[in-house]
Amino acid sequence: MLDLLFGLFGYLATTFGLVGTAVTKLSSPEILVYVVGGTLLGIVIGMLPGLTATMGVALLTTLTYRMEHDTALMILVCLYVGAIYGGSRSAILLNIPGTPANAATTLDGYPLAKMGRAGPAMGVATTGSFLGTVIGMFFLATIAPVLADYALKFQTHEYFWLAIFGILIAGQLTAMDDPIKGWIAGFLGLAVAMIGQEGLYMTDRFTFGYTEMMGGVNLIPAMVGAFGFSEVISVMYQRRAVVIAASARLRDVLPDLRDVLKYRRTIMRSGVLGTMIGVIPGVGEDIGAWVSYAAARRASKEKEMFGKGSVEGLMAAETGNSAAPPGALIPVLTLGIPGSAPAAVLLAAMVLHGVRPGPMIMIEFPSFVYEVVVMMLFAAIAILVLGILLTPVLLKVLTIRRERLMPVVFVLCVIGSYAIQQRMFDVWVMVLFGILGFVLRQMKYPMAPLVLGIVLGDIFDKSFRRSWVIHDGDFMFYFTRPISVVLMLMCLFTLLMSYGPTRRYIGPRLQLLSAGVIGGAGRILKAHWLLVLWAGRAVAALAGFPSAGLPAGGAGFAAGLATAGRVYVATIAAAAYDLGHALVTVFAVPFIDLARAARLLPRT
């Protein structure tokens, strides 16, 4: 136990050392300009409804591809973090999420603004976003290197299952009303990636005889279309919003430290949840915010305030969505699988700049992970400073008319998708994906799985066929490796959980099981604590310090030890009951149900 603890501390110390090295490497006055510029641009993009983080990162990738790789990625990371934060402004003041990530922010942010507390609400959003990014960053620094090491164990067919699992879970979690639409979108993305020459034998697939299509569909033009052009159309389609007048005095928007202390549990929980959601392939900030918000409401002492202007709800949503970007970069760096839609663009940008993210990252580019951590840190500090100081200026952004902004955005969409390879084909792709993206989104097909599919298409195709070739057409290899089997079961579980009747059957039992396991584990910990406590009291009684009703001297010592034993056994027994009860209900009752269904047992 102790050596484990020491190992952990040693690991953390090394990590901090490496992060420190990266800080010195990246610190220069020039970089400061890029951090401020990137974050500010991000905040502005995030604030403007219709300009999302994904679109911003995609467009800026096309503008920065001639820069040095660390400068370019620094700008992109700052833009990403800034945009997710900036979206909270329009969510609070317009009741329109500036980016999809801030949808949950509107629930409590807008009511707060209507009560005349827009300034403090913006302050809470700033605090939440800063802390969320910091929490996510901590996990990025500590988990990514370990995960990269573990990912080296993955074999070709395991990548296949990982891709399938990513598509299924992303489709499930991002679909607005029906997981099947998310899955169709995801597999459609994989299908799009099939266009062009395949990587093993250079056969043309779905090129219809056009040489330009042999190169396949590039991710960046497709993203610029699906998140840029389609947003232009949908912004013009929607009705105009009304801005709530807000106080821009510094005193009002200054974050309140009392909120941080009061809601420290909510902040920690939302940060961890947001990061975890970010790690899940293709599932990013928006879901991170919703999950954190729902968890905060469930655990809150002031549930009835949620949706009516709860500071806690706002804090949960903003911490949750800001913790997701660092989380989303974990699979990008370690597996080459994007954790969110903007992270997919960042992945493409990294490849464009010659960094190859994936399991080999700690070997090929050992300092890169820590450099990304530092970029996140700089971005977090920048949103805190800029978010507070520039509030009056930034509020002006919300008054920009969409008719003035959208043509400029579209001009950038066209030239941006053209500039990377100077191919007109990419402009076609952009226009097509823009219209397709708009239509699909109107029909409630989520875009994130589609993007994930396009990114994963190549790995999916190659790993699937390679594994068959290696095993000479024998499919048993899917069942012989533990990682493969676990991933396969996870896919099956995802499918089962989205089917109503099975979910209704499994869901409550799963909750029971997890409650039993967590409760049991908690009781076991408590039992040990009580043992130590009572043993301490017994020793104290022997030494002449009676406590908790124990007499001083040997009698007290004996009584103390007896109580320690009794309490320990009783608590362990309760823990065993918890666990046993959960296990029996979960694993035995289905058999009883089956027997009842087969009329072997009488129905009650």
């Binding site: 503008l63 459609l188 299908a191 697939r205 779905f206 008719e403 043509p407 001009v411 109107q442 999916f460």
Partner: protein, 204 residues
């Protein structure tokens, strides 16, 4: 989108995706098979067939669901009545206008016409703003005019002088066209400069 309309939309998209899946299966099967230089299991058509089957399968489930929800019976026209009409017009206009600009550039490229990029871009920005702001130009233009008169009466007077013969409403249109033109020139110049001089891109 309202629910019955969504069932109809699902009905149509499900058919489209089902056909797409079936098409992928057929195309995949036609791709070069095992034997020759391709090892067993590595056939290029394998993954398209798999994906086609999955997409067709999901689409079939969606189709059945939409039929249960009554999607195949719904009258399009009745359903269309529930849409945001002005929005649809604006959305379609945006999509078409933007596509004309982008595809126009592409077309010019293919046929080898020498149309300067900056001119086309400026024209696009100008037309976009003018077209979409025309309707509420009178109102917002008048508001801005009043703002300008309050803040800088001398400048406003100077600007007003050449247009004294215009009614305030027309002045708003003139104002709109002027500012739209100004923005168009700035955007076109900035984008052209940035990409041509800074990124060394050969513009279309």
């Amino acid at each position: 989108m309202p629910r019955p309309m969504m069932a109809k939309a699902d009905f149509i998209t499900a058919i489209v995706f089902f056909l797409l899946g079936v098409y992928m299966i057929f195309e995949g099967l036609k791709m070069p098979g095992a034997g020759g230089f391709i090892e067993r299991g590595g056939e290029p058509g394998r993954v398209p067939v798999l994906l086609g089957a999955i997409i067709a399968g999901f689409a079939a489930i969606l189709l059945i669901r939409s039929v249960i929800a009554g999607g195949h019976r719904l009258d399009e026209l009745a359903a269309a009545g529930t849409l945001n009409r002005v929005g649809v017009v604006r959305g379609v206009a945006t999509a078409v206008g933007c596509s004309i600009y982008a595809v126009g550039l592409v077309g010019a490229h293919i046929f080898g016409w020498k149309v300067p990029y900056s001119l086309v871009t400026g024209l696009f920005v100008f037309v976009f703003i003018a077209a979409f702001e025309w309707q509420d130009a009178a109102e917002s233009g008048a508001r801005r005019w009043q703002w300008l008169c309050r803040r800088l009466p001398a400048v406003a007077g100077g600007l007003r002088a050449p247009f004294v013969f215009l009614a305030p409403r027309d002045a708003a249109y003139v104002w709109l066209l002027l500012t739209a033109g100004l923005q168009a020139v700035i955007v076109a110049a900035a984008v052209t400069y940035l990409f041509e001089q800074q990124f060394y891109v050969t513009l279309p």
